[in-house]
Structure formats: C-alpha cells, structure tokens
C-alpha cells in the first residue's frame, strides 16, 4: 500500500497545487479497511488544458445514442467538422430485417448543414428547413433527428420550431436535440438529452407487441462490432423475444414499441439508465443490470434473468444453453489462457466498459489493477445507492430532469410484467438486484486503483510506474502505451474487430488479447548488436531470442 501511495504522490508532483487537489479527488485506492466505496469525484468539469479522454454532449447524443438508430436520418446542424468526426467512428452495426428494408438504413451516411459564415451571422434555420425538405424528398425517411453543435445555442436557431414545422410539412416525426457540445461536462450530458427526447417523443407511440412468452429490451447496447447480435442469439436460444436493442441496430419502429416489453435489461448503465428509470416510473417495467461481457458474467446475467420470470421451463432452457455454450468455448479459451494468465491490465473506457471487461479478463486469468471511466458519474463507481447524495451543480442542472407520472392507461405494477404475485416479486428482489447497479468498486481488489477522467499525463505515469502487460483504452492514448512498449487495445471500436460480447465474443476477445500479448514485435525491440551477450539460441522461426 505504501508503495502505491508514494507512487501516486509522485504522479501529482508535476501539477500546480489546485490541479493536484482536484485530481486527487478523482482517484481511489481500494483499501481492505473500507467495505463501501469512498466518495470519488466524477462527472465534474474537466480541468482546462489537461488532455482528457472526454468528448462532448454532441458526441454523447449523436455519436452514441441517436446515431445508431438505423432508420432515422440524423442531421448534424452546424459547421462541417462535427458531422465528419462522428461519421461511422463507433462501428455500430445495422442490418435490414422484416420491418426495415436496406434503403431505409442510414447508419453509413452522414448529413450536415455544413454552416458557413453567413449562416452563423444570419442564422441557420432556413438552411436547416430546406435541408430537411431535401432529405425527405431524396430518402423518404420514417423520422428525422436534428443534433445541434456548439454555435447553434449561441446564434439562437430555434431547432424545436424548425423541427415542428417540418413535422407538420412532411407528416413524419422530426426531433431536435439541443446537444450543443459545451453542455454538461462530457458526453454524458448528451446521453441524458437523447434519453429525454426518445422517452418523451418516441417510446409509447407504437402498439405492435411482439409475440413471445418473455419479451425483453436490451437498453444501452450499441452493437459495436456486432455485440448486440451475439446477445440476441443467446437470448433467442434461451427462449426470449428481444423486442428492441436500444440503440444498436434498433429501428424507429422498435423504439415506438419499447414499452411493450416485460423486462428491461441495462447493458451500459451510464448512457441509458435514464430511460430504464423513466420506463419504470411511467409503465412500471422493472429493469435489471446485466453484463454480457465475460463468460461467467453472461452466465450470471442469464440466470438472474431466468429467475425474474418465475418460469421453470425458462430456467431449464437457460441452464441448457449455458452448459452447451460453456462446453463449446471452454477448450478454446483454455488455449488462450496459457498466454493471458497472470497478466496485469489497465482499463480506461467509457462509462461502463471498464467494469464490464474486468469480468472477461478475469475469465482469462488476467487482473485489472487500474480502472477508470471517462465520463461516468459517482454511481457507476460507488453504486446507485449514492444517487440521492450526489450534489447537483450548474452543469447538471442545465440538463432537464423529466418528472414522469405513471401512464393512466399503460401502467402496471412491476410484478404484473413478470407474471408473479407481489409477494413473489418482493422475494425476487432480495435475490436479484432489480433496478439497481452496484458500480465498479465491489469488483476491484484491495490495492487496485480507480481513477476518473484519466488524462494522457496520468496514463503515461501510471504505465511507467506500474508496468501493466496491456492497456485497454481508446485509440487516442493507445499509441502512447505502445510507444512505451506496452500493447494497447482500442476498446471503443475494438480495432475493427468484435463482437466481444457473449460466448462467441469471449473467444474473439481472448484471441485478440493473446495476439496483442504475444506479438513477436515486443521481443524484437532491442537490436541484436545491443543485446547482452548470451548463448546463441535460435527459436524455431529462426528469430534469435532476446
């Protein structure tokens, strides 16, 4: 422990005093003495000039939540850059299906008003309105999203008025998101803005319930590299009907029917917990935090889900699927474990992944010694029980909090959705953590470090001092680690790989991690003329070992 404390003290020496004071609050070393998580500072303003990994509200709204809705045409209202930078960067996969033909999928495309100086001076409303007319004429989309970039709020374009007029003109829904990049402190603000709009204006407008005994939604799964498809495969196998995966490969039609499900699963807690909570309030649909990243985690999630429905047949089938899939992938994973076992990792991604991936790494015999989120809130570290104690500040107050009431026609009690009595439901809640997320802390070990909004400097120092075997992070700091001789994996778009979720995903991930750890390059860094003299030893491939 002392070692770590002094290491961390050194980490801060280069900061000015105020920065040091600020950053210290964003870091916690898990101590054996503390059973509950000490308070960590999160979701507060990034210090200017620190090279943070965080993005902006626009990135959270357009890039993360609404962009992947496959049959909604999303327009970026602003100068040219933001549209380009968020174009396909997250690899949300989408495919045509029975209700959404290929020509109604716009995910590969990018639309922007490309505002020029006169638009900034005289306003961009007319340009936007004309653009909506053009895309409607060219594509006949089912619905349109308009996402604002920074200057919009300042020049006073009334997006909602433009959207409303366009909606009347064209008879399709046009939604405006005031997700200007400067709002909030990170992309998290954009998630919330998107959640609010989707919940208020799309969810609940459909009437087509999908057939099936147990109908579920997966919320906060963005189908990067096909993650959502692997989850659907498993869930279908167990006997569930997947109503909608929000928003990876989701369609506008599915989201209209989002309320016609019996249980909401929450994958990325940070970006989607608002909708989960609001649906609970408005419709009475319970939600369950699950994690399909990792074999054990997937098994546990499936078992918890099965318990929710009070259906022995479902539990039986779930066990069959678990047994069959585990038996299928175990021998493959065991091969990769030979390379991965005992290796130390850092994980700095997102608002949920740094937690999710700890489970999969544990399956491979690896341990995460430093983990942190870019844009999480305290509850993602400490657990949802701290929410009432989180102080709201000027930044969080700028994002409206919707206070929904139970729907007069559609509200049912939690237990009715799950086909059980109230008493059974109360008993279930003791066994399965419904409507709750415990955060990352319980899964960290004594001496592990949790760090919020880690920046380039801190990453570099931590890599130097703690010498991990691999770093899981975004592409922006991937090459810093690699320049220091530590392999790094891009965990936003998976270095163009995936899926990493579920059982097939575990194999893909294990293979990619094993590749990263065993690439011959790491052994060839020192040229032969600088290597210490040692008996000439040739490996099989003819490369002299260092």
């Amino acid at each position: 422990m002392d070692g770590i404390e002094s290491t961390l003290e050194e980490l801060y020496t280069q900061y000015p005093e105020t920065v040091k004071k600020n950053r210290k609050k964003h870091l916690i070393v898990k101590s054996v003495a503390e059973e509950s998580c000490p308070q960590i500072e999160a979701n507060t303003r990034t210090i200017p000039g620190i090279i943070s990994q965080r993005g902006c509200a626009y990135a959270g709204c357009k890039g993360v939540v609404v962009g992947p809705i496959k049959d909604m045409l999303t327009i970026t209202h602003g100068p040219v850059g933001c549209g380009y930078y968020s174009w396909g960067a997250r690899r949300n996969k989408a495919r045509a299906d029975a209700t959404t033909p290929k020509d109604k999928i716009y995910g590969q495309m990018c639309f922007t008003t490309d505002m020029q100086e006169p638009d900034i001076v005289f306003g961009g409303e007319k340009k936007l309105a004309k653009m909506i007319d053009e895309v409607v004429a060219a594509f006949h989309p089912r619905a349109i999203n308009i996402c604002a970039t920074c200057p919009i709020g300042l020049i006073g374009d009334d997006l909602n008025a433009v959207a409303k007029a366009a909606q009347e003109r064209h008879g399709i829904q046009v939604l405006a998101y005031n997700c200007e990049g400067y709002k909030g402190v990170s992309q998290s603000a954009g998630h919330h803005i998107a959640n609010n709009n989707i919940m208020q204006n799309i969810v609940g407008t459909g009437t087509g319930k999908k057939p099936g005994r147990h109908v579920i939604n997966i919320l906060g799964e963005y189908n990067i590299g096909g993650d959502g498809w692997e989850q659907e495969r498993i869930l279908n196998d167990c006997g569930y009907t997947v109503n909608c995966v929000l928003t990876g490969d989701s369609s506008y039609l599915d989201i209209k029917n989002l309320h016609l499900a019996d249980l909401n699963l929450v994958m990325c807690h940070r970006s989607i917990n608002y909708i989960a909570e609001m649906m609970n309030t408005k419709y009475g649909i319970p939600w369950l935090k699950i994690n399909f990243i990792g074999v054990e985690a997937t098994n546990q999630s499936l078992r918890q889900m099965a318990k929710c429905f009070n259906d022995p047949e479902l539990e039986k089938r779930t066990e069959e699927v678990i047994a069959r899939e585990t038996a299928r992938i175990e021998p493959v994973l065991e091969q990769y474990r030979k390379i991965c076992r005992g290796r130390k990792a850092f994980a700095f991604v997102g608002g949920s992944r740094s937690h999710h991936y700890q489970h999969l790494l544990k399956d491979l015999g690896m341990e995460v010694v430093v983990a942190g989120y870019e844009f999480a809130h305290r509850d993602d570290y400490e657990g949802r029980q701290v929410i009432p104690t989180i102080k709201s500040d000027a930044d969080s107050k700028n994002i409206p909090e919707l206070h929904l009431k139970p729907d007069e026609k559609l509200y049912k009690e939690n237990h009715e959705y799950l086909n059980m009595t109230k008493e059974q439901f109360e008993a279930l809640k003791k066994e399965v953590p419904l409507d709750y997320y415990e955060g990352m802390y319980p899964d960290m070990k004594t001496g592990d470090i949790m760090i919020d909004d880690c920046n380039h400097y801190e990453l570099e120092e931590l890599v130097n001092k703690l010498k991990p075997d691999i770093v899981f992070t975004g592409v922006r700091d991937k090459y810093i680690a690699e320049k220091m001789g530590v392999p790094a994996k891009q965990m936003h778009s998976y270095d163009y790989a995936g899926p990493y979720a579920g059982y097939d995903g575990a194999i893909n991930f294990a293979r990619d991690v094993a590749h990263a750890l065993s690439t011959p390059a790491w052994k060839l860094i020192v040229p032969p003329w600088e290597r210490k003299e040692e008996p000439e030893e040739k490996s099989q491939d003819g490369v002299t070992n260092a």
Partner: protein
C-alpha cells in the same frame, strides 16, 4: 452542382443545402497538423473539449502516433461569461505538464461565435504571468470559414507572421509545404540535400508525426522546424511553396514576399513527372548545381515505368478528390499517364484550382467534371455518370468501393481505415513511381477480379454456359 467542361466554365459548388457524406473536415484540425510540424510545439484548441477529442481521434488514426491536443474545455457558463479564464487556466496546465517552447492556440466555431479575442487574452496572459521562453501563437480558425486545408494554410501563415522579423540575408531557401505525408517530406528533404541546398522546411512533421520506436517516450516528439529558422525565413534568397492553389490571403510565401521581399515561387506538389521536373528545374536554377546522377536515374526508372504501364493506365477513368493542392498534382500525374480524371473534386471552395486545371484539361476528349465544395453524394453521382473505374483520395470515399465496387486508392488526409497513412510516399520521382505502380496495379487487380464475369456476360449465352 458540377460543371461539365472544367476548361470552359468555372466550377460550382453543391446546389443542395445538404452536405451528404462530407469530403472535408473543419479548419482547426488542419491548424493542428501545421503546429505539430514546429519544434517543441504543443497545441491548444479554444473551444469545447469534444473538438480536441475528435481531432485527436482522426489524427491518431491517420498517423498511428500519439497526437496530443489540449482544450480549454468551455462549458455552458463560459458561453455566457466568456472563456478567458478557462483559456488562461488551460495555458497554465499545458505549459506546466508539457513544457513546450511554442504553444499554438487555435479557435473553434464556438470560440469564434462567442467573439473571443484570443490575441488580447494571450497578450494579457503573457503580461500577468510574466511568460518568457515560450512563444504563444494565436491563430483564428473558425470552423465555418473553410476546410481543414484552409485551416492548415492559415496556421502556417500565422506562424510565419508571428516569427518573421528582419534578418540578414543568408543562403537557406524557404520550402513551404501543404499537408502531405511525413514520408513525402522526407523525400523532399532528401532531394534538397542531393541538390546541395540549405533550406528551411516549414512545417516539418516528418519526425514528429511519424516517430521511430526507441528511446524514452517524450511528450513532445523530437523534430519539427526550429523557430529560430522560421524567424530567419525573411532573409532567404527565395521561397518555394507547394501552394499553387493557395489563395494569397492564406499564403505564407506571399506574406514573406509582400512584407520582406523574399521572391515567391509557387509550385505544384512534386508528384508526377512534369511537376517533379518543374521542381528540379527550379532547384537547378537556384543552386546552379547540376541534377545529380542519382536523381537522373530515378527519373529514368519513372519514365521507363510510365512507358511500360501506359497500356493499362490508359484504361483508367479516375475520380480524384481531396485537398486542392493534392488534387491538382494528382490530376496532372494522371493526365501525363493517359488517365485523365473524369471527376475532380474538392471540399474547398477554391477558384484557383479551376483556373490551374485549365491547361491540364483543355483538349481532353471528355472534359472532366469539377466539383468544388463537394460532398461524396455529388462525387458519387458524377463518378457513376462518368463511368469512373478508380477513385483516388482519402478514406472518406470508401463508400465508392463499398457501394459501387469502384476500387479506392487511398492517398491524402485522413486515412483512418487503413494502416500507415503517414508512410504513403508519392513525392519525387521515386514517390511518383510508387504511386503509379499502385495505380496501375489497382486497375489490374480489379480487372483480373472481374474479367471472367465480364466475358461470361458478353460472350456466353445461357445455353452455352
């Protein structure tokens, strides 16, 4: 939307309001690349932090290198009260952690719309903090005023204007470059060396954005143009600027000519035999030195390859898109190989390109379509109508191959879906040869991959199959 016969009529932009699948990025990201080519420089973007994060993403994916860009992280409060305090705090922290000698400050659409006066803020910061030993160079790059190509030139001009001061005459020539790959820069430096010239290359990302493995990791990579050399560019005998399409208002070479009477020779990029010959002729004239055998041999290899490949190249019907300077050089390279582009497009609004293309394209059997302020919807449309069979440009055009099976030869900026954007060599005789081989073989790959089906369609009846 697009003008047929570029030679006769000036190009037009899109007539639609919709920019569908953008062909260009915004001004500040170009400015970032320019500052990364200055020795010991760090760059800070005055705006919301998403801008810096997005621009790091695209630069990192293109260069496969760490590219640190700081942000003043403006929040809602500052949009009302001004961003001065944030920008000053940001400068404090960047200076503390990175200890740069040069700190470039670029603006965004947010800062510009707020009306932030970065010159004043920087001046007051320097006075308050008694800053010395660090040059803080503010350059406005409002995202709505141009593309990344203009942002790049604006920053290079800003850097020159910041450092330029009267200097003693010296022998070092100025060589000012657009945003080209580190590999191209290294080739240009080699050529200048072979010609026995001393020079100041501005900016120089050849090492900073393509650093070799080895040694202790440094936050600011070694390399880049030294600021002392930039200050003395005013005393150079001549400026060679690969900026034949660079408007005077953004031209660093024009600035040195107007303010310090350094004669400016604006050349096209030395890609293509003709353009490279022009460069060599200029260097020969300036230095008085003969062109060394090594380069003569390389020219010979290129000539040989051009003759060898002409029968395949002449089948090429290319679409070329990207930054104006690169588009001009590639058009000229393709034209001299008998593959006149059918579609020439740039995201910039740049009438100089249209003018410069006239001598290249007049007399063409099929006059090319020139699109300015292009998006990929307009490029795609023109490409299909013109029967384009190869596209040449950055990664943004991948839909041309994914949707229409038009092979894409990746060159330019950004290349974010393939490895090694920083190592693409196309300058010099050697680079041109590398480009030409890739061009020819891309055509051949596609031909061999599809010719059986083609023959089958043409010659085999269903009965005879």
């Amino acid at each position: 939307m697009a003008s047929e016969a570029a030679a006769q009529t000036p190009a037009q932009g899109r007539v639609k309001e919709t920019n569908e699948n953008q062909c260009n990025m915004c001004m500040p990201i170009g400015g970032v690349v320019a500052f990364k080519g200055i020795e010991n420089a760090m760059v800070l973007i005055h705006g919301s932090q998403g801008c810096s994060t997005y621009m790091r993403l695209f630069n990192v994916e293109h260069f496969n290198e760490p590219v640190d860009i700081a942000s003043s992280s403006l929040n809602e409060k500052q949009t009302i009260h001004g961003g001065e305090a944030n920008l000053k705090k940001a400068m404090d922290n960047v200076i503390r952690v990175y200890q740069p000698k040069v700190l470039g400050i670029l603006t965004t659409c947010l800062a510009e719309t707020m009306g932030e006066d970065i010159d004043r803020i920087v001046a007051s910061y320097i006075e308050e903090k008694k800053i010395s030993g660090i040059d803080i160079v503010p350059v406005p790059t409002p995202s709505y005023s141009g593309t990344h190509a203009e942002g790049y030139w604006a920053a290079v001009r800003g850097i020159v204007a910041y450092y330029a001061r009267p200097a003693q005459s010296h022998r070092r020539i100025n060589v000012i470059v657009p945003n080209i790959s580190p590999a191209d820069l290294r080739e240009i430096k080699r050529i200048l060396g072979l010609m026995g010239l001393e020079y100041t290359l501005l900016p120089d990302i050849s090492m900073t954005l393509d650093r070799p493995w080895g040694g202790k990791y440094q936050k600011i990579p070694p390399g880049g143009t030294p600021t002392a050399a930039i200050a003395e560019m005013t005393g150079a005998p001549v400026t060679i600027q690969f900026g034949s399409t660079c408007p005077d208002s953004l031209s660093p070479g024009k600035y040195l000519e107007d303010e310090y009477h350094v004669p400016l020779v604006n050349l096209p990029l030395p890609i293509g035999l003709g353009n490279m010959d022009l460069f060599m002729k200029t260097l020969h004239k300036i230095s008085g030195n003969p062109v060394p055998d090594e380069l003569v041999t390389e020219r010979g290899w290129l000539m040989d390859a051009m003759a060898d490949a002409h029968k395949y190249d002449a089948d090429g019907v290319p679409a070329v898109y990207g930054e104006p300077e690169l588009v001009y050089a590639l058009t000229s390279t393709l034209a001299e190989n008998g593959a006149m582009p059918a579609v020439i497009a740039t995201g910039s609004k740049n009438s100089l390109l249209a003018e410069r293309l006239i001598p290249l394209t007049e007399g063409a059997d099929e006059p090319p379509v020139l699109i300015e302020e292009a998006d990929f919807a307009s490029i795609e449309d023109a490409a299909i109508r013109a029967g384009v069979n190869i596209a040449i440009g950055h990664s943004g055009g991948k839909m041309l191959s994914e949707r229409h099976d038009i092979p894409l030869l990746r060159i330019g900026y950004p290349i974010h879906d393939r490895m090694g954007g920083q190592r693409i060599l196309s300058a010099g005789y050697r680079g041109t040869l590398a480009f030409l081989d890739t061009f020819t073989n891309t055509l051949l790959n596609h031909k061999y991959a599809t010719y059986r089906q083609k023959i089958k369609r043409e010659f085999c009846t269903p009965e005879g199959m």
